[in-house]
Each structure stands twice: as C-alpha cells, then as structure tokens.
Symmetry: C3
Subunit: 159 residues, 3 copies
C-alpha cells in the first residue's frame, strides 16, 4: 500500500465517488479495465463527498492559474479515487502512460501547461519519475461539463 501511504503522508484523502444531480445520466465507466490497460474517463475536481468542486468557470477570467492548478490537483485525486475503487489498490498501477489535460480557457488564455502541472506534479510525487512519467497535452477547451475549470482523461498500465 505504498502509494496510499504516500497519499496519507501528504495529508491527502481520496474523494467519494462522483455525485451529480439525479437528472444527469452518466452512462459510462469512470475507469474501463481490459487486460493490463485501464482507460480513465474525463474527470473533474471533486469535494471530499464526491460533489463537483468549485471554483467554477474560465481560467484566466473567473479563476487564476493558481486556483486552476489546485483544481488539476483535485482532479488527480478524483482519478486516483476511481482507480482505487476499480482496482482495489493503487499499487496495481504499474505505470502512467498518457494524460490529456483540458482547461476551460478564457479567450486569449494560453498559460495551459502550468495549470495541468497540478495533475502531473501529484502523480510524479506519488509514483516517482519511473512509474509516474507520462506523455501529456494541456489544451484550451470552449467549455467543460459543470463549468469545471479542468478535466483530464488518460490511460495507465495495470497489473
């Protein structure tokens, strides 16, 4: 339970499963496992109880880069929560492969990598450089569900 010990040592807890208003149907898997591959659905930042976490809106207008970095970090915790529920143990992630980082960008806002660093930094802190390294994009979207500032999807290898 090495990864979970590290989370605890950092004072971090995984959020409850995503909880959305009852009229919103999300007919997909937050993590789809097949063989040694785990596909991660688009995740957003969650509060401890699984409700969607604010602040909401466009980075560069409604949120600063620092606030969006924190949202990306919470998004990583949401992803780790989904992986933990699906896999039972976060050590089953043998390596991170690909992250696609999406920012709800205000017109003209291009400071996108520093935002998604909030996700990458936590993964590297927990899994180390060897297992945690990943190919990544950090790009600006016209809009994201729930008006979340950040959404990330990707793929990891599991055992």
């Amino acid at each position: 339970l090495e990864i979970e010990s590290r989370l605890e040592a950092l004072g971090l807890a995984l959020p409850a499963p995503p909880k959305v208003a009852s009229h919103i149907r999300l007919p997909f898997s937050f993590v789809r496992v097949r063989g040694n591959r785990a596909f991660i659905a688009g995740h957003v930042a969650l509060n401890a109880d699984g409700t969607i976490a604010g602040p909401f809106g466009k980075v560069g207008a409604d949120l600063t880069v620092e606030q969006a970095y924190e949202s990306a970090r919470l998004t990583a915790l949401a992803v780790l929560g989904s992986l933990k529920r699906e896999l039972g143990d976060l050590n089953r992630v043998t390596c991170w492969l690909r992250l696609f980082g999406m920012v709800n960008a205000a017109p003209g806002f291009t400071d996108l990598p520093p935002v998604i660093n909030g996700f990458s930094d936590l993964i590297l802190e927990l899994y180390g450089q060897e297992r945690g390294q990943h190919a990544r994009s950090a790009v600006g979207m016209a809009s994201l569900p729930f008006d979340s500032p950040v959404e990330v999807e990707g793929e990891v290898e599991i055992t």
Copy 2:
C-alpha cells in the same frame, strides 16, 4: 450477426461511407486496425447516403440538446458503418474501451454529457453493459469540421 440483427430490430441502418466535396482531402483511415486494437478516427453524423448530416452549428445556440443527442446517435451509426466496412462483422468488436466525445459548443454551453449520451446509449443498447461499457469524455470544442455539432473518436478491442 447478433449486433446487426439488433440494429435491424431497432429499425436502424448503417450509412454509406462518408462522402465529402471532391476538393476536401481526408488522407487518413476511418478505422486503423493493428492486432486486436481498432482506433476510430473522429466521426460526425452522416445521412444514409454518406453525406454529412445536419443540422449544423453550435449546440446551445443553433441546436437544442435533443437535436445534438440525435446527432451523437447518428455519429455512433457512422462509426459502426466504418467498423463494419473494416471488420466485415460488428461482432468482431469484443469490447468498447474509450470514447472521446466532442461538442461544438455555444459560448457558455456546458450541458455536454446529455449530448454524448446519444452515442453511449446506442452502443450500450447494441453491445450490452459488459461489452459496451467504455471510459468517456464529453467536452466543448471551439469548432468542428463541416460545422457538425458532434464528433467522436475512440478505441475498441477486436477479435
């Protein structure tokens, strides 16, 4: 031919191959197969004859969520048409893995999951929960080719 019987039972037919104006070059594969992996290029809704299907424009301004849901459903049929042409038989899709759902979003439009549900619902209806489940994103784009309201790309496992 179980999947194709279900399509027929639902009164659905697969469209002809995508047909675009002759000056538009699309130098890529709609489905790229390698081993047991099939990568699905970005698809949009098609008419029965393969021409790009309207209505066109931005969801939340030019189209309602209901119209965009229907476009996402037609996009799933277009993808199934490409898979059928490439694989010969839709039963060769052993499971769905990942879908990346893109919505041509009007400024401020964030009701994205209900749009892409039009794709997911049809896949689950045809393939069932076990084979059909997939990791998914539903995000807002600045623009899409042909001003289509919805585009979806992804990956499936094949036999």
Copy 3:
C-alpha cells in the same frame, strides 16, 4: 536508416529538443514508451533550434490555412525529432496508429482537416501508406500553449 534518408532527400531536418523559457515547467515525457507502444505528447511547431515556431495565433484570423498547414508539417517534424531522440532510429516506428490534431481556431473557422493534412501528408510521404496510415481527428480548440496554431498528440507502434 530508410526514414532518415527520405527526410534528407526531402531536404528536411529534425529540430533540436523543445526549448522554452526557463520559468515554464513541462514535467512530462514528449514520448512515453512502454513495450511496443509509444505515446506522443502534444507537440507544436519548432524552429531548427527547438524554440517554438511562429506564426502564432488563430487560424482563420491571424493565419491562413496554408500557413497553418505548414505549422502542422513542422509539428510532424517536431514529433519525429522526439521519436528519434527516444528511439534512436525512426525505423523503429513500425506503424502509425492514431493522431489527434488540434487547431487554434478563430470563431467560425471550420476548415480543420486541410490544416492537419500538413502532418498526415508528411507521415505518409515518409512511412508510406501501409505503415503511415492512421486514424485521425482534426478539431478546433479554444486555445493552445504558446498561442501555437496547431498541436498534435497520438500513438505509434514501435519495435
């Protein structure tokens, strides 16, 4: 060294590694290799010395389709540069699988496939139809890092 001979025959040279201002942290791998899979991070056009190449801005406003096509072609060279550094030899790419092409699109600009053709055309020219073919998307983003006009990420198979 067949692929590199073809590059040379076309009068093309691979750019130096991406070079960005020292305050910008990019804590990810430009290429993440695992087994026979290589994941390509989002790349943009580079100058020969690895600095980010202009022209910058929105395609359809600040850049023409022709200029953006050239940016997509330079993006392919940047990707090939990263693959060369990671793999040692571009012949180790046994086939191209998936490309996700992103265009920094001006409002209302939908002429996206002709832009990303700048990437696809070069790959097909170098690797041929069999190895070079790929599933692809070409979509419009709200913004891209460095205000680059084009960014592409994807996956290839390697030996």
